[in-house]
């Protein structure tokens, strides 16, 4: 049984495998260094492992190839000594047994929110790969399958094994194995032995289902941090700290538009119940001293849920600048134009906030304004078509002065993760360490520096986004998608990272919709941190409930890159991210038009 449907049994197997006495290595954990969710998940699972005194080693990775460096080939070795590894937030969309060249004694556990899961990983016969994919998650997924995925997975794996046995010598097929999505090609290939064609209808249905499965495109399941928090809850090892991490995980998916509003709401409700039941409500708020004076008690590490405005990093910024730069408001008011700034000032004036007050750093802004903010925003913003300005979110209160919202933490930590320079994977793992530290309450300064970086990134998004929209011909429009290339070398330093570029894509898409353009998927290319390489990110629009497909760029990217014979790197953890040679971008785009 390899698809594990319950978190507890997943952990039980992980523990059993990691503590097996014949093992020479401690449990090796490989968290993805490309999102906040994976740090949260790592913190939760390590907390649980530590309380069970299970030794582990943890190596942050940023691409598939990183893992072999850290394991010194112990994964592929044919020795008897068992090796257990745990992948966090990456890996399940590729056939892990093949990609990692697993030896007979290696065992891979995967907690990953990326969907779809490669069928071979899900199959019951593939004993070496164990994926956590809960029933709940499958039922609540943004995209639903109307067939039995498990059965399909078993058949697919069976076929794969048979094929491997029958033609061990032919190497060309091994290359194809990962590419099983490309069944059409194989079918059109006239040289195939007719053996399979004889199998008749059953096979045809199977192939159709499989194609449907992969054609759905990529999307995301439940955040790993929340899944593992559930585990800690069931094992009665949950703490407020872990609960906060779960909140941050969920907000990570929300901020990066990886889940539908409906699913966000449902998950928020679930977490709110946890917050209520872990004694966050009736904490003491005032203390009486010996002489009878009452003082306010520090809100010592409390989580609360509140309606938060969609203004990024408000507490670290000024109200004016936050409104100027936050995508939500900026796009509606077009704050990059003179007219937009006028509108923004007018809005503030109508709400009765003095401009001078709004340009104060938020902590020093007058109390009056802070108090009236929600009421006034609710009154005036609907006029501009901004109806859901306030959304339910989480706040962490710590000590007297520190109040951070989950969204701001996500912005800050993401900026920390995405500020490595150069090509060395080591500096990405250094940033992972920084981000890891910043996520704990004792390192507010590190978090603040990340937030300042996030502010710079957002300003760059606004600069480049407004430039692309106002200049005609900057955004090239194809039949199926639009694409844009960031030429500015200074802003490329801020935007040449997958998540930042994704935010940029969403900014452009929303801005174009505001202009009345037809909705089309968006592609962005930007110079990456490696010299001479271009990072391309594709976005298909915000996930919606009842949508038929997720992000369709994943498969198309690989095929287009292969056909344009470019040197490409498709090993990042999201299949809609790809790194290309600078010279190959144009031919890649032409191929891509044909693919979609």
């Amino acid at each position: 049984m390899v698809r594990i449907e319950k978190v507890e049994s997943f952990y039980a197997r992980l523990r059993e495998s990691a503590t097996s006495p014949s093992s020479q290595n401690p449990l090796m954990i490989f968290p993805s260094s490309s999102d906040v969710d994976s740090i949260c998940a790592l913190k939760v699972i390590t907390h649980i492992l530590e309380s069970d005194s299970i030794q582990y080693s943890c190596f942050p990775v940023s691409s598939f190839s990183d893992i072999q460096k850290s394991t010194n080939g112990s994964l592929c070795s044919s020795s008897e000594s068992p090796v257990t590894i745990l992948l966090i937030n990456w890996g399940c969309h590729r056939d892990l047994k093949v990609v990692l060249k697993l030896g007979p004694a290696a065992r891979v556990f995967v907690v990953d929110s990326h969907r779809p899961i490669h069928l071979h990983n899900l199959s019951e016969q593939n004993e070496q790969v164990i994926v956590l994919h809960t029933d709940d998650d499958e039922r609540q997924a943004d995209l639903a399958y109307d067939f039995d995925v498990l059965k399909l997975a078993n058949e697919s794996f069976q076929l794969h094994v048979e094929r491997e046995e029958s033609d061990v010598e032919s190497d060309e097929e091994e290359e194809d194995e990962e590419e099983e999505e490309d069944e059409e090609e194989e079918e059109s290939d006239g040289d195939r032995p007719s053996k399979r064609r004889k199998m008749g209808d059953g096979v045809k249905v199977f192939k159709k289902l499989k194609r449907d499965y992969y054609r759905m495109g990529t999307f995301h399941g439940k955040p790993s941090g929340c899944l593992l928090f559930e585990l800690s809850h069931m094992l009665r090892k949950n703490t407020n700290e872990l609960l906060w991490l779960a909140c941050v995980s969920l907000t990570d998916q929300f901020v990066h538009e990886r889940l539908t509003d409906e699913r966000y709401q449902a998950a928020v409700m679930e977490l709110e119940q946890h917050i209520n039941s872990s004694g966050n409500i009736d904490k003491l708020t005032s203390v009486t001293l010996k002489d009878g004076t009452k003082v306010r008690a520090p809100d010592c590490s409390r989580i609360s849920y509140e309606e938060e405005p969609r203004l990024m990093l408000l507490r670290e910024w000024t109200l004016f600048d936050s409104m100027l730069c936050s995508s939500y408001i900026a796009i509606k008011l077009k704050t990059w134009s003179d007219n937009g700034i006028k509108k923004l000032k007018l809005l503030l004036a109508r709400m009765g906030f003095a401009l001078i007050e709004c340009q104060q750093k938020f902590p020093y802004m007058s109390h009056e304004v802070k108090r009236k903010m929600k009421q006034e925003f609710d009154r005036f913003l609907p006029e501009y078509g901004l109806n859901d300005f306030y959304y339910r979110s989480f706040l962490r209160l710590h000590g007297y002065s520190s109040r951070v919202s989950a969204a701001d933490v996500v912005y800050g930590i993401t900026a920390l993760l995405e500020s490595f320079l150069g090509s060395g994977g080591s500096s990405a793992s250094k940033q992972f360490g920084e981000a890891y530290d910043a996520l704990s309450l004792n390192n507010l300064d590190k978090l603040r520096s990340g937030m300042q970086q996030a502010i710079k990134v957002q300003r760059a998004i606004l600069r480049q986004g407004s430039a692309a929209i106002t200049k005609t011909g900057c955004i090239r429009s194809g039949r199926k998608f639009r694409w844009v290339k960031i030429e500015d070398s200074i802003d490329a330093k801020y935007l040449g990272y997958p998540q930042a570029l994704t935010k940029f894509c969403y900014f452009l898409m929303d801005a174009l919709r505001e202009k009345g353009a037809r909705m089309k998927p968006m592609l962005c290319a930007c110079v990456s941190q490696e010299p001479g390489k271009i990072l391309v990110v594709g976005v298909c629009g915000k996930p919606r409930l009842g949508a038929v497909r997720g992000n369709a760029f994943g498969n198309a990217f690989r095929k287009a890159a292969q056909e344009s014979r470019a040197d490409y790197f498709h090993e990042l953890f999201e299949s809609s991210w790809i790194v290309l040679d600078a010279s190959a971008v144009n031919s890649f785009m032409i191929r891509l038009t044909e693919k979609l």
């Binding site: 093992s23 020479q24 290595n25 401690p26 090796m28 390590t46 492992l49 530590e50 005194s53 299970i54 030794q55 582990y56 080693s57 943890c58 190596f59 942050p60 460096k69 850290s70 394991t71 010194n72 080591s426 793992s429 250094k430 992972f432 360490g433 890891y436 530290d437 704990s440 309450l441 004792n442």
Partner: protein
């Protein structure tokens, strides 16, 4: 001004972080010794002068007497400063043997660079004495005095560690920036040498 050199030497030691060594300030040290020599020389010449004048050196209170006294005080003071400098460094060197390890070559190279030959010699001798004593009583005396709450510890590797990884029961790869949860006793030597840092909170 007399006595200033010694004062600077002590100041130089005190300006460093507590418990941390700075490179041995041999320039200032030699200058202080030089000043002591000078003082000594001048005292002698003043006393000789008094003796030549046929005065009673013990009881006479003339200008030369007070001159000699000033030089004497400066000399004593400089000597104390020199002693303090050497003594305090020696204390840190001894401490290194207790806290970091008994092998000189195990010390981080940046610490080794800061030691003079004599201090290295002192370190070795102190280590040998300690080792033989610990051998006699059969107790390892240089482990952490506070017993750990948890036999395991969470660490991050901050420097490249490539040679001689010794763990009691498992083998792993201490790549830079990787994090590990392992037995405290396995991690302690690396933490002492600054190659790993403990992760808290």
């Amino acid at each position: 001004m007399y006595g200033r050199k010694g004062y600077q030497l002590v100041k130089d030691f005190a300006s460093g972080e507590k418990g941390q060594l700075k490179p041995f300030n041999s320039k200032l040290f030699d200058e202080t010794v030089e000043e002591c020599d000078q003082n000594h020389h001048l005292i002698q010449s003043l006393i000789r002068k008094m003796q030549q004048e046929g005065l009673d050196v013990q009881n006479n209170r003339n200008a030369d007497h007070y001159g000699a006294l000033i030089h004497h005080l400066s000399l004593i003071r400089n000597k104390r400063c020199l002693m303090a400098y050497v003594y305090n460094r020696a204390e840190i060197v001894r401490d290194l043997a207790w806290r970091v390890g008994l092998e000189l070559l195990d010390l981080p190279s940046e610490i080794q660079e800061k030691l003079t030959t004599l201090e290295k010699e002192y370190f070795k001798n102190h280590s040998i004495a300690l080792k033989s004593y610990m051998g006699k009583v059969g107790i390892e005396l240089n482990v952490d005095m506070v017993p750990p709450k948890d036999p395991y510890i969470k660490v991050r590797v901050v420097e490249d560690i490539d040679e001689g990884i010794v763990l009691s029961d498992k083998t792993t790869n201490f790549a830079r920036h990787s994090m590990h949860f392992l037995k405290r006793t396995d991690a302690e030597p690396y933490i002492a040498r600054g190659q790993m840092e403990e992760l808290t909170g």
